[in-house]
């Protein structure tokens, strides 16, 4: 049963990542990538990684992909406003299938975590990861925050139209 669940989730993940690369318009590619992030979060839940799964949804699907969609909107790269007549039902089925697979994936992965009989192989909640981040990875943690500050400043500077008024 575990192998079937994993095979199904792996198949969905590979299909979605193919969708990112093959899609005709940038917006469909971004939507496929959001689906990839969610599917990866489901896999992380199944891998006893609740903290990483939450961060995946919050950071990747919630912030990075929003940036991508904003840029698509700004540069008007949505494209493909009129889908050919035969394509729309297929996309509707694909969307419904994606939603159903997300629900089924969350249900099957979360059941492994919540079942009272089995204890997970190791505990990887916020407490343990926090201890690792502020213990062994303290330098990397602080350097990453410095990197984030630098990237924010850099992105603002790169986005200015003219540096001198």
């Amino acid at each position: 049963m575990e192998n079937v669940t994993f095979a199904a989730q792996a198949g969905v993940l590979l299909l979605a990542s193919l969708g990112v690369v093959v899609a005709k318009s940038c917006l469909r590619s971004a939507l496929s990538l959001i689906f990839v992030q969610l599917q990866l979060a489901i896999l992380y839940i199944g891998l006893d990684a609740p903290f990483v799964a939450t961060m995946q949804v919050l950071v990747y699907a919630g912030a990075v992909m929003v940036l991508f969609v904003f840029v698509i909107m700004l540069l008007n790269m949505g494209g493909a406003d009129r889908a050919p007549a035969g394509q729309v039902p297929l996309l509707k089925w694909a969307g419904a299938g994606a939603a159903i697979s997300v629900m089924v994936g969350i249900a099957s992965s979360a059941r492994q975590l919540a079942s009272p009989g089995t204890t997970p192989a190791f505990a990887a909640g916020v407490h343990e990861v926090g201890e690792a981040l502020l213990g062994r990875f303290l330098f990397a943690f602080e350097a990453t925050s410095l990197l984030l500050l630098t990237s924010v400043v850099g992105a603002i500077v790169l986005g200015l139209r003219k540096l001198t008024p």
Binding site: L18, L33, A49, V52, M55, V59, V64, V129, V152
Partner: protein, 98 residues
């Protein structure tokens, strides 16, 4: 382990997309795909060895990927303004026309 094979497949798809697609935005998205594949490997091995360091590393990789995508999108905006197209082939100023 099957997760590593899955991550390898995802990485290969992302690399193929980064090399074959001519759109800058899809290039950036393929890079995100590759980073996600690396994250999957980290988390899978963290569970195999019962080590939380894999999760911490994965979190830091996530933060780095977010920073890199922000800067990459700013560069994309600047490049789009410069050449009025989002095609990678438009930026060939350093190309050697042999």
């Amino acid at each position: 382990m099957h997760y590593v094979a899955l991550a390898a497949g995802m990485f290969a798809i992302g690399a193929a997309g980064a090399l074959l697609r001519r759109n800058l935005l899809i290039l950036l998205m393929s890079i995100e795909l590759m980073l996600n594949a690396a994250n999957l490997v980290f988390v899978a091995y963290a569970r195999a060895y019962g080590d939380v360091n894999g999760h911490a590393t994965s979190f830091i990789v996530m933060a780095i990927a977010a920073a890199e995508s922000a800067v990459g999108l700013a560069v994309l905006l600047g490049a789009f303004r410069h050449r009025e197209t989002s095609s990678v082939d438009a930026h060939d100023a350093l190309r050697d026309h042999v």
